[in-house]
């Protein structure tokens, strides 16, 4: 029996069942040394952003880094001058419905590509992936003309359909990979048990793909919440616009109201952070095994 070598922090998923190992404090310090400066670099622009949102417009540039006087005019302007609540609500419901629609479609099709066998499978897969391959700026006018033909212009429903159609393949891409990490044996055993395909998907595999679904939810929420070009172009009546296009209109060509803009951006980040943190609960290690044991 070889003795256990002294190690730095072992790379080990978080499993409550595994007994804690004692490791040298050196490990934690090393990790901290690497992670800490990284974290600072990561969020520095946002620190600037939040600080700017609480200062006077006249002190944004040229003033000190930490504002000497704090006020919330920026938030007041952002809230009132662009109709923040209305557009926030538009974004919220459009994004929520998109995320749910996409999650369902992506889970179904991702599972099919990962675990089911049918002719032309790879061809269809590649075909669906072409969604990710064209720059959005090249597609915006064809998309506009398409929605016009369907009579869905200037209509939030039209935007929804567009979002779901163009986002599902990417999430499908993710879900397929996650389903592929799950053992085929599970599916086969359930088949042997006499379960129908839909049941196998819904009751056996899907619950085990939690990290995958959580990832999809995070990304889809993020992507839809931040989407600008399609919403800006498809919707004409300003009342129907979601938040991003309206926020960006605060960015003028020559002059920008920085406190208002950064305040609006800060407020708009909050839902995404909330979704992200909530979804983190789904990242529990050994999920696949835990259920199976």
């Amino acid at each position: 029996m070889t003795a256990l070598t002294a190690t730095t922090t072992p790379v080990r998923p978080l499993t409550p069942a595994t007994p804690r190992r004692r490791h040298f404090p050196v490990g934690k310090t090393v990790v901290s040394f690497v992670l800490l400066p990284f974290c600072v670099v990561m969020i520095f622009p946002f620190i600037w952003m939040v600080l700017t949102s609480i200062r006077d417009q006249n002190t944004v540039f040229g003033g000190s880094f930490i504002p000497t006087s704090i006020n919330f005019h920026g938030y007041a302007t952002a809230w009132t001058s662009i109709g923040f609540p209305l557009h926030f609500w538009n974004s919220l419901w459009i994004t929520t419905v998109t995320v749910l629609g996409v999650s369902l479609l992506a889970a179904l099709s991702g599972y099919a590509f990962a675990k089911l066998d049918f002719p032309l499978k790879n061809v269809l897969y590649l075909l669906l992936l072409t969604t990710l391959m064209m720059p959005a700026t090249a597609l915006i006018i064809p998309l506009y003309l398409e929605l016009k033909a369907f009579g869905l212009l200037d209509n939030q429903l039209g935007l929804l359909i567009l979002y779901i159609s163009s986002s599902a393949p990417f999430s499908m891409f993710l879900m397929r990979a996650f389903f592929e990490t799950l053992p085929d044996a599970l599916v086969e055993a359930a088949r042997v048990d006499g379960a129908g395909e839909l049941r196998i998907f819904w009751q056996v595999l899907l619950p085990l793909a939690r990290p995958g679904i959580a990832t999809v939810v995070i990304f889809q929420f993020l992507q839809t919440w931040n989407e600008f070009l399609m919403a800006n172009t498809i919707l004409q009546n300003p009342d129907r616009l979601p938040l991003q296009p309206v926020l960006f209109s605060l960015m003028g060509q020559y002059a920008t109201d920085w406190p208002a803009l950064t305040a609006g951006l800060t407020l708009s980040i909050i839902p995404v952070v909330v979704v992200y943190v909530r979804m983190q609960n789904q990242f529990v290690a050994g999920m696949t095994l835990g259920a199976v044991k």
């Binding site: 730095t8 922090t9 072992p10 790379v11 998923p13 978080l14 990790v31 990284f38 974290c39 969020i43 622009p45 600037w48 040229g62 880094f65 479609l105 992506a106 179904l108 089911l116 066998d117 049918f118 002719p119 499978k121 075909l127 669906l128 990710l132 391959m133 064209m134 720059p135 700026t137 090249a138 597609l139 006018i141 064809p142 998309l143 398409e146 359909i161 567009l162 159609s165 163009s166 599902a168 393949p169 996650f178 990490t181 053992p183 839909l198 998907f201 990290p211 931040n226 960015m251 951006l265 980040i269 952070v273 992200y276 983190q280 529990v284 290690a285 999920m287 696949t288 095994l289 199976v292």
Partner: protein
């Protein structure tokens, strides 16, 4: 009882059917699989064909025309592509696109992997905070990131030069986004900054799918940190790493927002990529009063071809590694 050879093998419940019945049953199973397969994919496929596939076809058609966005499009065959080959700006943009994509993909993937592994080792409660902080750059759109970083890079009042000056490193001060030698690197850094959180998250999720039992067994066998990483983590992350690399390539070839917001492809095309060039042709003022939507579409078709090749290459490589 579990076998340890196949990591996640299970013992099936119930008795095995006899051969004859088995074949018929397998046939029926295959058929129900096929039906299920098509049915599951159907909604996604239908929506795709209607709202993605058709516009893509239209864009491809546009690439064969000359069109200003009003009136009729004039069919000119492959003239746009010939023009692209002769266009020095397009040639340069091709090179910059490749460099941008290669660097961002490699760095994002590697750094994402390292971060995911590190974060995985940090103890529980702090873990969520750290993961959130690392992910925050990706939470805003690249337009916002571009605006924020442009201010940081500002040669006169930006934080970077001010910081360098404060610590006595004035000689390192540059007009970051205006200088040919630094502009592309600066933009690449911002792109990686915004994307590494996503890579980290995907890889981190992938790590959760690896059986902790493998690590325990390896530790018992005396495997060190690096060996566990190399022989358990990396192979276990294969499909997920494939995703991250594919995404890096696709997003790199298509890149537009971050570069346009920061440099508009300048100075003098130092950061010009296909995405920015095609935007200028379609919506910018480069072509004066007349947008060149046909020429712009030709670029988008070339980008699409590059993406298809990248995905096929990645799929082929993964399959080869599986064998």
């Amino acid at each position: 009882m579990t076998t340890s050879a196949a990591p996640q093998a299970m013992v099936a419940r119930g008795s095995l059917p006899a051969h004859g019945r088995g074949r018929a049953k397998r046939g029926a199973l295959k058929r129900s699989q096929r039906i299920a397969g098509y049915l599951f994919v159907l909604p996604t496929l239908v929506l795709f064909l209607a709202f993605v596939g058709w516009p893509i076809l239209r864009a491809i058609y546009l690439s064969l025309t000359q069109w200003s966005g009003f009136g009729a499009a004039r069919f000119i065959g492959g003239a746009n592509y010939l023009r692209m080959i002769a266009d020095p700006v397009a040639q340069h943009a091709f090179l910059v696109t490749l460099i941008f994509t290669a660097v961002t993909t490699v760095v994002q993937t590697v750094v994402g992997l390292v971060l995911a592994v590190l974060v995985n080792g940090v103890w529980n409660k702090v873990g969520v905070v750290v993961r959130t902080i690392l992910f925050i750059p990706g939470i805003v759109s690249f337009v916002v990131s571009g605006v924020l970083w442009t201010l940081i890079y500002d040669p006169n009042i930006g934080t970077l030069n001010r910081f360098l000056g404060a610590v006595g490193l004035e000689s390192l001060q540059h007009a970051w986004l205006a200088d040919h030698s630094t502009a592309l690197a600066c933009v690449i850094i911002v792109s990686i900054w915004g994307a590494v959180g996503m890579s980290m998250l995907i890889i981190f999720a992938g790590i959760q799918g690896i059986d902790p039992g493998l690590y325990e067994a390896a530790e018992v066998d005396g495997a060190g940190l690096w060996q566990r990483f190399r022989h358990i983590t990396v192979p276990g992350l294969q499909p997920v790493l494939g995703i991250v690399i594919s995404l890096g390539l696709l997003n790199g070839f298509k890149v537009f927002d971050i570069i346009y917001v920061m440099t508009q492809g300048g100075p003098n095309h130092a950061t010009e990529v296909f995405g920015t060039y095609l935007y200028k042709m379609a919506f910018g003022t480069t072509s004066g009063g007349l947008p060149q939507l046909g020429y712009a579409s030709a670029f988008s078709v070339v980008v699409m071809i590059m993406c298809i090749l990248a995905v096929i290459a990645q799929m082929a490589l993964t399959r080869r590694n599986d064998e």
